[in-house]
């Protein structure tokens, strides 16, 4: 299937879904009412009118910006922490062994229960959301970097030593690139979780952001607002994901593609 046909089918799926939605919620049946009450499911027309209004009036930008800021901060702080601690643990097996049960415990904890505590600690502003995102991003990056440092091919390592590398050079030329490559391979997941942290945090208590927008709409049974918020959020994530793909392609040029079966 060529690309045009593929996109054609993808658009078709969207059109069919929208048409069905419209048919069920906006077209009156024999009794004068649509099959599905629009109060619970809204209608495509209402939802898009709402999205249009948000962008037209410009109210959405502030919320998008807040969510973006929270996600970005959570991603950066979580990644830096994950890289540093992952590196440290991998190079100091004793430290790793001591902290192992606690790391597992922290990671097993559903992060959402931390949200109220973070709100208490950091207030209703962006930092409680950032903190929630950090707890999610940190562990993903941490485990990947830890793995990346420990799973450097023994042959590559022996080769590096035979080529005369000292401990510092091993760090720079072997462990560091290996750890980074593992981190980048989890970029999609960690960026995704940064956004999840931000939105969930907003949803649980905030004054701005996409999560807040959805929460507000729910509070007033404004289903069109809820759906509009979800669509904007989905589009936001898709755009970020596309950016991550671009960055990834740039940074991991040396990596074989998944389709490349050479070992």
């Amino acid at each position: 299937m060529n690309r045009a046909t593929l996109v054609g089918f993808q658009v078709l799926v969207m059109l069919v879904t929208l048409a069905a939605w419209h048919l069920l919620t906006a077209i009156p049946m024999a009794d004068g009412k649509p099959l599905v009450p629009p109060f619970f499911f809204s209608t495509p027309g209402d939802v898009f009118a709402r999205i249009w209004k948000w962008f037209y009036e410009g109210t959405i930008w502030r919320h998008l910006w807040i969510t973006l800021t929270e996600s970005a901060l959570a991603f950066v702080i979580g990644s830096v922490g994950g890289v540093l601690v992952g590196f440290w643990f991998a190079r100091q097996p004793l430290i790793a062994a001591i902290f192992d049960p606690y790391v597992k415990m922290m990671n097993a904890l559903p992060r959402i229960v931390l949200a109220p505590i973070f709100t208490l600690w950091f207030g209703l502003g962006i930092w409680s959301k950032v903190a929630l995102g950090v707890t999610l991003v940190f562990f993903i990056v941490f485990f990947n970097v830890y793995q990346g440092v420990r799973e450097v091919s023994p042959t590559v390592l022996a080769n590096a030593r035979m080529l005369g590398m000292n401990e510092r050079q091993l760090m720079r030329h072997v462990y560091w690139p290996s750890a980074l490559s593992w981190m980048f391979s989890s970029l999609h997941t960690s960026v995704g979780f940064a956004v999840v942290g931000a939105v969930v945090g907003e949803y649980l208590g905030s004054a701005a952001g996409l999560g807040y927008l959805i929460l507000q709409a729910e509070g007033t049974f404004d289903i069109a607002g809820v759906f509009a918020g979800m669509f904007v959020l989905a589009a936001f994530v898709i755009v970020i994901d596309a950016l991550v793909t671009l960055v990834e392609k740039r940074l991991l040029v040396w990596r074989p593609d998944a389709a490349d079966t050479r070992t």
Partner: protein, 281 residues
């Protein structure tokens, strides 16, 4: 007998200036729970400066283990290794090691991979790159400097590996079945390339292989190891073939066939034993 150097250094002699001397090396691995596995037992072997020695033995006989001792990557359980007369206690700084498995840095281009060995020794990046480019040319990869290892074929990666090791100009070259994963034609080409590069400044070479033909075609001496466990060195032959050699031509030589038959008679039993132990793997 081959060249004049061959007569000057009789087989098996431990000369004072041997580039590599392994004395009664035994290597025992602890497998846990008090179980031990002796890979190599009482191996004594010396490689003179400028000599090309091949170690041949059945699969799993501990050839690579012995090579790791010479590289200083593995300390022998008993016995000692001496490099140019001084005992080896840490990594062998005089040796370059060409590994069997992929050992290039996948995140570095071919050029960076070759240059790194000089950079670690303190050569500034500029001159190091320039020398690396020259070496890539020497191994026939001048146009591939910007490629990452995964973009190269198996043979090309071995060429980069060879350049990576040789650019440091080691006095000793240790090779662990370096051409093992390559197809027959590529192996022959790589063998000739190796002989070509080696003849320029005759380093001491210790070349591990399970391929007897390759061993005879390349080396001055062929050392045979028995099947493991506790593999021993059971034979040491001098190769009476003149240099420079071309690997495909040399295989047509009568002396080649005579020696091959002679060694194979000894090796055959060990190979069968080796297969019996490893289940044919």
């Amino acid at each position: 007998m081959g060249g004049p150097t061959a007569d000057a250094m009789p087989a098996g002699t431990k000369s004072v200036t041997a580039a590599v001397a392994l004395n009664d090396v035994t290597i025992t691995f602890r497998m846990g729970k008090g179980v031990t596995y002796t890979a190599v037992s009482d191996a004594t072997l010396s490689v003179a400066d400028g000599e090309f020695v091949a170690i041949v033995g059945p699969t799993g006989c501990g050839k690579s283990t012995l090579l790791n001792v010479a590289a200083g990557l593995l300390a022998p359980s008993s016995g000692s290794a001496e490099i140019f007369g001084s005992p080896l206690s840490d990594l062998n700084r005089q040796a370059g090691y060409l590994f069997q498995a992929d050992s290039l840095f996948p995140w570095k281009t071919a050029l960076q991979n070759v240059a790194i060995g000089l950079e670690t020794a303190g050569t500034p990046a500029g001159p190091a790159r320039q020398r690396a480019q020259e070496w890539l040319q020497r191994v026939g990869l001048a146009g591939f400097a910007g490629r990452y290892p995964h973009m190269l074929s198996g043979g090309q990666r071995k060429r980069v590996g060879l350049a990576q090791v040789l650019i440091r100009d080691p006095k000793i070259l240790l090779m662990d079945e370096p051409f093992g994963p390559l197809d027959a034609q590529t192996r022959q080409i790589m063998g000739n390339l190796l002989l070509d590069l080696w003849s320029a400044d005759r380093k001491a070479v210790l070349f591990v292989t399970h391929d007897l033909e390759e061993a005879i075609a390349l080396s001055d001496r062929v050392v045979i190891m028995s099947a493991g466990p506790a593999a021993r060195i059971i034979g040491d032959w001098r190769v009476p073939l003149a240099r420079p050699r071309d690997i495909s031509d040399v295989k047509l030589d009568k002396a080649f066939h005579d020696l091959h038959r002679e060694i194979w008679n000894v090796l055959k039993d060990e190979v069968l034993k080796g297969y019996a132990q490893t289940g044919g793997g």
